[in-house]
């Protein structure tokens, strides 16, 4: 009861002191407002970047493991990976046999080609030789027409499923299905158009500028020998939870297929969404950290401003402290009174700062990337501002609390 009274009364006293010095309080809070806006906008922008990154690479699939010659994120010199043996289509077939009933294995080969319809040409289009399982591992489906079917692969059909940007670019408003498309020097029949994926960011793959053809046809028509081409193998795990175990299993089977001795290192790379996210976090983590440190400096400067004003406030009210002590205020009551004053100023700054940061985030969201103010950011902003208030108010408040009542009363 007594502590509750102490707290609530200290709070009231602090509020009335701030109200009595409105413009001073507002100017002091300005430093905190600027600091909070800077720190919070950095946080929301970082979140926005992360969201964009996730969206861009969502098609990678969080339950899909990719076995390739090279790792996606390459550390150190590249020759180690260049000298590895290519991964063959046969290896993919062997892996499918071993994992039968558990994982879905999809081999694919990629290459860039110019594509043409009548007089229109699109340059450097990514052409992917793949199988009907592509839509299972990448979670994308055609919006019109159909995707590749097992017999397209089996009979090495010259059919193509094209991305939405290619459909728009080559065929304009007319329906591309049933029309021809020239890939390199070979004619293909368009059988489907993939649904639009949206623009990519961060140099991620642009799936709207992608063409899928049967992997068997790819080797035949685009100059690769199917047996020797370097295949990427995508394997969809039976469930998200078993990813880790499944990855070990895939590695084990691949080692057997590649005929590695126990002492030898893997001569292939395991890639997955986590690999990309880790790389992203490593890179962006550092950038965001530096950003936060720089913006925190402005918050620190705001805190110093609060401390300064609190020293003035304590000195100005030395006599009042003396009176309060004479009629029974303990050190704790005086300490609380000034701590509440500084943290209320800072909390006010934090709230106003949050409002501005929310507006800025809205602008970023509308113009740049999907940034948003999460509840965690809101809560941490308020906690940070109160923390700054307590820290910067403590020394002045403590000085006030330990004043000698006789000397404080004598102060004019």
């Amino acid at each position: 009861m007594k502590l509750y009274l102490d707290i609530s009364e200290s709070f009231k006293i602090a509020l009335s002191a701030i109200v009595a010095n409105k413009s001073r309080g507002a100017l002091t809070a300005l430093g905190i407002i600027i600091g909070i806006v800077a720190v919070i906008t950095t946080m929301t922008a970082a979140n926005g970047l992360k969201n964009t990154f996730r969206q861009t690479f969502a098609s990678v699939g969080s339950d899909v493991i990719y076995v390739s010659k090279r790792p996606w994120v390459q550390m150190g010199p590249g020759f180690r990976f260049r000298n590895r043996n290519d991964i063959s289509l046969a290896a993919s077939d062997a892996l499918q046999q071993k994992l039968l009933g558990r994982g879905i294995v999809n081999p694919s080969i990629g290459g860039n080609k110019n594509v043409k319809y009548q007089s229109k040409i699109l340059e450097n289009i990514n052409v992917s030789g793949t199988t009907e399982k592509q839509i299972i591992v990448s979670d994308m489906v055609p919006s019109t027409g159909r995707f590749l079917m097992p017999f397209d692969i089996e009979y090495k059909k010259s059919v193509a499923v094209i991305g939405s940007e290619i459909a728009d670019g080559l065929y304009g408003k007319s329906d591309p299905i049933g029309k021809h498309i020239k890939i390199g020097r070979n004619k293909f029949l368009v059988i489907g158009v993939m649904e639009k994926q949206g623009t990519s960011f961060f140099g991620g793959p642009n799936f709207d500028r992608q063409i899928y053809i049967p992997i068997t046809t790819f080797g035949k028509t685009l100059g690769h020998n199917g047996g020797r081409a370097n295949v990427n193998i995508a394997i969809k795990a039976p469930s998200q939870e078993s990813m880790a175990d499944f990855e070990f299993e895939v590695i084990g089977e691949m080692r057997k297929i590649r005929g590695l001795k126990p002492a030898e290192d893997d001569d292939f790379s395991i890639n997955k969404l986590d690999t990309l996210l880790d790389a992203y976090n490593n890179m962006m983590g550092a950038v965001v950290l530096v950003g936060l440190i720089i913006t925190s400096i402005s918050l620190f400067v705001g805190g110093v401003g609060v401390m300064n004003i609190m020293f003035v406030s304590v000195t100005e009210r030395t006599k009042e402290i003396g009176i309060r002590k004479a009629i029974g205020a303990k050190r704790r009551s005086i300490l609380l009174q000034f701590l509440f004053e500084s943290s209320t100023i800072c909390l006010f700054g934090g709230v106003v700062g949050l409002i501005f940061a929310a507006l800025l985030t809205k602008v970023i969201n509308d113009m740049l990337m999907p940034a948003s103010l999460s509840p965690a950011i809101v809560v941490s902003a308020l906690l940070i501002s109160v923390f700054v208030g307590v820290v910067s108010g403590f020394v002045p408040a403590y000085r006030g609390a330990k004043l000698d009542p006789i000397e404080a009363l004598r102060y004019e």
Binding site: L5, G328, S333
Partner: protein, 242 residues
């Protein structure tokens, strides 16, 4: 017969509220040692009206600060209602001041910016009294000094006499053992001063123990016991008609 003996026989049943025994207080001003009190012994009994007098430098302020528990003696003992104050911590002293001492200062010492009501309420807040109870006590105290119609005013909207009445109301709310008034009329004109002294007299008649610190004989005349200090020692301690 000394005053102490006389009082002890006259008011045999009365308890000594305040027992000061051989108190000294030494402090340093720079390098210089100042012996403000050099061995003061004093008993004050319940219901007494005491004036402490003395020229400046006599130790009168130091004695008042000691009695008011704002300061602790360098040596000697001070018991307030049987409790040894000289051994207390700062926060314990704050509690004693809150509950047992009612201060009335020369310069009123009201908290600026807040209303009369809030000023009078303050000691009760520090005591931890619940809000509804506080309102009741504060209203009664303000009425007892005749300022009912000023309760909502800020202290800077009041005259000196009114401010001192607020201070007296504030001194009364915690029902202190002693009302300690330091030159309560020092900043007032003589007419207002007389009014305030009239109020103090009425409080004494109601049974309050009052200690006045003053250098004016006229003011000291209101008391029925006068203690004179000189050079940190008690020079005389006499009962008067009052």
């Amino acid at each position: 017969m000394s005053v102490q003996e006389q009082l002890a026989t006259e008011v045999a049943v009365a308890e000594a509220i305040l027992q000061i025994n051989n108190v000294t207080r030494t402090y340093f001003m720079g390098d210089q040692e100042v012996n403000a009190l050099r061995g003061v012994s004093l008993n004050i009994y319940k219901g007494e009206y005491v004036a402490i007098m003395g020229p400046s430098g006599s130790g009168k302020s130091t004695l008042m600060n000691t009695i008011g528990c704002l300061d602790v003696p360098t040596s000697g003992s001070y018991h307030l209602e049987g409790v040894a104050v000289n051994e207390m911590s700062e926060d314990q002293l704050a509690e004693i001041r809150n509950e047992k001492i009612g201060f009335v200062f020369q310069t009123f010492n009201l908290v600026p910016r807040v209303s009369v009501f809030q000023n009078v309420e303050l000691p009760l807040i520090y005591k931890g009294v619940a809000k509804r109870k506080r309102k009741e006590i504060v209203e009664k105290a303000i009425a007892s000094v005749g300022l009912e119609d000023r309760a909502g005013h800020k202290s800077n909207e009041l005259s000196g006499g009114q401010r001192q009445r607020v201070a007296i109301a504030r001194a009364l709310v915690c029902e202190p053992s002693i009302i300690l008034a330091d030159e309560p009329t020092g900043n007032l004109d003589s007419k207002t001063g007389e009014e305030i002294m009239g109020l103090m007299n009425r409080l004494h008649e109601k049974g309050h123990t009052i200690i006045l610190v003053t250098h004016e004989d006229e003011i000291a005349e209101h008391a029925n016991r006068v203690i004179r200090l000189r050079d940190g020692l008690i020079e005389s301690d006499t009962l008067t008609a009052g």
